[in-house]
Amino acid sequence: MQPEGQSQQVQILMSNTETIPGRTIGQSLGVVTGSTVRAKHIGKDILAGLKNIVGGELKGYTELLQEARAQALQRMVADAAKRGANAVVNVRFATSSVAGGAAELFAYGTAVLLQ
């Protein structure tokens, strides 16, 4: 999954393992984070409420969180790029629901410089 808006010159690799498979880590540049808080559109909220009668997947929310997660990743990558890293390893996600219907999506990982 490549976050949108990532610049073409600096291709930042991401992985949720300790290393980038097939590459060697030269230097660690610390923890990078990215977060975003998103609330649902009221129309979508009502639609989801109706959809809830039959249960199953709530597509509107799925898409919303997908976009939000992509943005959190993009911010994390931007942070890594600022530090001059070319990869982020051990990426983790966290989600928490903050005040009334908004969700915080959080992505973090270790920025590294590959050899």
């Binding site: 999954m1 949720n16 097939g22 809830n52 039959v54 249960g55 997947e57 709530l58 990426v91 969700a103």
Partner: protein
Amino acid sequence: MDEKTIDLIVIIGMISFTFGPFLFSWIFGNWYQKSKQKALVEREAAFGGDPLTTLRTAPEATTESGLLVANIIMSVSWWQGMIGGIHSIFGGTITTWDKTLSWGRQEAMQRLREQCRDSGYDSVINMRLDTSEIASSKGKTKALEIVAYGTGIKL
């Protein structure tokens, strides 16, 4: 109309407004969820093999890798929610939530598999599953997000 007929209409009206949505939810919810589950089982069968692993190390021959993320938001129907509520009074297994969650996980994993195939990776290592609660602004819609993520590798 005499008073008795009006009373009867009012009572029937009250009952159908209270239980009507639940009846609707029971009939259509079951039908809808079953059809979706059937589609998922078919997709899984058509995919064949399983590229997902929870191993933390990649094979030596890996040439390329990238992060893959798939998610789904699941909720129970009104009917299932009510049954779940009754279940939770007595304790024990709450079958409705139980089924919905396991189905949600299966779906999220299938989406990760499809994403792995679509982005041209051969397998996924270090797959992780996370669950978190999503509440609506009115606090009525209880939904759960299931996210499956891992590192796709090309051999």
